[in-house]
């Protein structure tokens, strides 16, 4: 029985990373995805901040799911999420002002990130706290992976560096477009294309197997 619960827990966790990946499958939270992924370090910090808010608010929403009246549930969720976002906001400001400036308004805007509200409404409000938090952790990890996938490509091409380390030496020719907004759209589109191509190939392989 214990192995059955672990598998279920694992499935809950992996849902956000692969099957329902917020960036590549659900295409949610596009605003921070396109805006802050100029470098890998920005992407990872944004991902971690969002993951923390996601886990904490999903846990609290799940705990309060029987007390909150249905009519005011969205307002309650927003208050809960905003509380944790404020905490994250002050925390980042305290540890690194440079990072805080780089992420700008997008830290405060985690409040309106639809991944968090969507998870609170669709999952945490119907699930006990522990699975809800595991699921939220998976979603957060999936979001971080998505941001990192964009941030790595954009930093390598746009700056010639990865996590601030120079990859190609001094003579590198930066692709200016990659650190501009169009670069975000191009890289996101290329990743979506890659996953769509994979899914299509898998599907056609299944069809030939059945036939």
């Amino acid at each position: 029985m214990s192995s059955a619960t672990t598998t279920r827990g694992w499935d809950e966790f992996m849902e956000g990373i692969w099957k329902q990946n917020p960036v590549f499958v659900m295409v949610l939270g596009m605003c921070p995805t396109l805006a802050v992924t100029v470098s890998a370090i920005n992407a990872i910090s944004m991902g971690i901040a969002t993951t923390f808010v996601l886990i904490a608010s999903c846990g609290l929403v799940s705990l309060m799911r029987r007390i909150v009246p249905k009519e005011v549930r969205i307002a309650t969720y927003i208050v809960i999420i905003a509380t944790f976002v404020t905490a994250v906001d002050y925390f980042i400001q305290a540890i690194s002002l440079a990072l805080y400036d780089a992420l700008g308004a997008f830290i405060q805007l985690i409040v309106v990130n639809c991944i968090i509200l969507g998870r609170a409404e669709a999952h945490a409000s119907k699930t006990p706290p522990l699975p809800a938090m595991v699921n939220a952790a998976g979603m957060g990890a999936g979001f971080t992976i998505g941001l990192l996938a964009l941030g790595v490509v954009r930093e390598i091409l746009g700056n010639g560096t990865l996590f601030g380390l120079s990859l190609f030496g001094a003579g590198f020719q930066p692709w200016v477009i990659m650190v501009l907004p169009p670069g975000g759209f191009f890289v996101l589109g290329t990743w979506l294309l890659f996953f769509a191509w994979r899914a299509r190939r898998k599907q056609s392989a299944e069809v030939t197997q059945h036939a």
Binding site: G171, F172, Q173, W175, V176, I177, R200, Q203, S204
Partner: protein
């Protein structure tokens, strides 16, 4: 017994096929490319070769993966590559040229479904991408007719992939030419106020001017195509007429402030764009009245961008905007097949769909892409009742 084909009119089949039109455009581009190589030597030759090669490889890959119609033998990717190379500076690093060629076909054509389905001119999509990605390299021109150009590459051409090209100014200094010689006539006028002679611009032969192939030659090649009806004469006429008229009006009001209209017409890529880029059949209107509107819009926008923006050249963006407006222009210029309405327009309900696909498919029997993406999609009724 042979098969009987039943289909609506027209029943007369023309001689024109997509392949034939494209091949003729390639023939007409050959003299232009040769002149370009004569101007800039081995670097221009390598640039044309690499960019066209990148376009063909990308096209091959997209056709092979089954996401786009057409094939390599229709020469459309060859045209894209040649035109793209002609719009890039001769000393443009070859690896960047390859990136431009890849983006042109992949983003400009392959993702839309291939030949005839593209919304924007593929060559200009590629150029717009590299202009945004490598703004310094694309603004670096070198003078034409340098001694030894057939034996020696312009050093920036041979930059390693992903690496910055060598500085052109130091190379020019070693050749006893000042760095200013490398500025295009448009950049010279915009940033230094120096005006080139319109006659010199027309032939591209005077001195070491940093210009593209001779506008006169391009016009001659375009005239051949127009005479054979492989391009519509209305579009280039409307573009040059529109740009010339706007430039002339402005010149009348402020002769000291604005250059004369002939400088406007013969400098930069206006002639090349008007003859070869804007006339791309898939991305320009098919209605005659629409062609005039489309051309006039491009001409006006070119002059506006050249005079009032930070960029010295505006033909590329003008044509891309014109491409985007094409479906709307076609919609408002539908001809009335049967009679006229009260105000001379089409009668309501009397119009028929007019789009490039309608005409070219009917005429050339072009292959439409197989929609493999949706092959396994469940039917609507299956989805609704999975258990019954």
């Amino acid at each position: 017994m042979g098969t009987v084909e039943i289909r609506p009119a027209p029943h007369i089949r023309g001689e024109r096929t997509v392949e034939k039109i494209m091949l003729n455009v390639v023939y007409s581009l050959v003299p232009v490319c040769l002149f370009y190589i004569y101007q800039y030597g081995i670097s221009a030759f390598a640039s044309i070769l690499v960019v066209t090669g990148a376009c063909l490889l990308t096209e091959r890959w997209f056709v092979k993966t089954g996401t786009q119609s057409g094939n390599l033998a229709d020469y459309s990717a060859t045209i894209t590559g040649m035109l793209l190379a002609l719009t890039l500076p001769p000393g443009f690093p070859l690896w960047m040229g390859a990136v431009a060629g890849f983006v042109a076909i992949a983003l400009g054509k392959g993702l839309f479904g291939g030949l005839g389905f593209n919304v924007f001119n593929p060559a200009l999509v590629g150029r717009a991408f590299v202009q945004a990605a490598f703004p310094t390299a694309i603004a670096t021109y070198t003078p034409s007719f340098l001694p030894g150009r057939f034996l020696e590459f312009i050093p920036s051409s041979l930059a390693w992939p992903l690496m910055m090209p060598a500085d052109a100014a130091t190379w020019l200094k070693a050749k006893q030419l000042d760095a200013l010689a490398g500025a295009t006539p448009l950049a010279k006028w915009k940033f230094e106020g120096i005006l080139a002679e319109a006659g010199d611009l027309l032939t591209s032969l005077a001195g070491h001017m940093a210009v593209g192939p001779s506008p006169l030659l391009i016009l001659a090649c375009g005239a051949y195509l127009a005479f054979r009806r492989y391009l519509d004469w209305r579009i280039p006429t409307a573009i040059l007429g529109g740009a010339g008229a706007v430039a002339w009006l402005l010149y009348l009001f402020g002769p000291g402030h604005y250059p004369n209209p002939f400088f406007m017409l013969f400098s930069g890529g206006l002639i090349l764009g008007a003859v070869y880029m804007a006339t791309d059949m898939a991305t320009s209107p098919v209605t005659p009245r629409g062609m005039w509107i489309y051309g006039g819009l491009i001409g006006l926008l070119t002059v506006v961008i050249r005079y009032y923006s930070g960029l010295p050249e505006g033909v590329m963006y003008a044509i891309l905007i014109g491409n985007a407006a094409t479906p709307l222009i076609e919609r408002i210029t539908q001809p009335a097949p049967f009679g006229k309405g009260v105000f001379g327009g089409a009668r309501k309900g009397a119009s028929y769909p007019l789009h490039p696909g309608y005409i070219s498919r009917e005429e050339a029997g072009a292959v439409t892409p197989k929609k493999r993406i949706l092959k396994n999609k469940p039917k609507a009724d299956e989805r609704r009742t999975p258990n019954s």
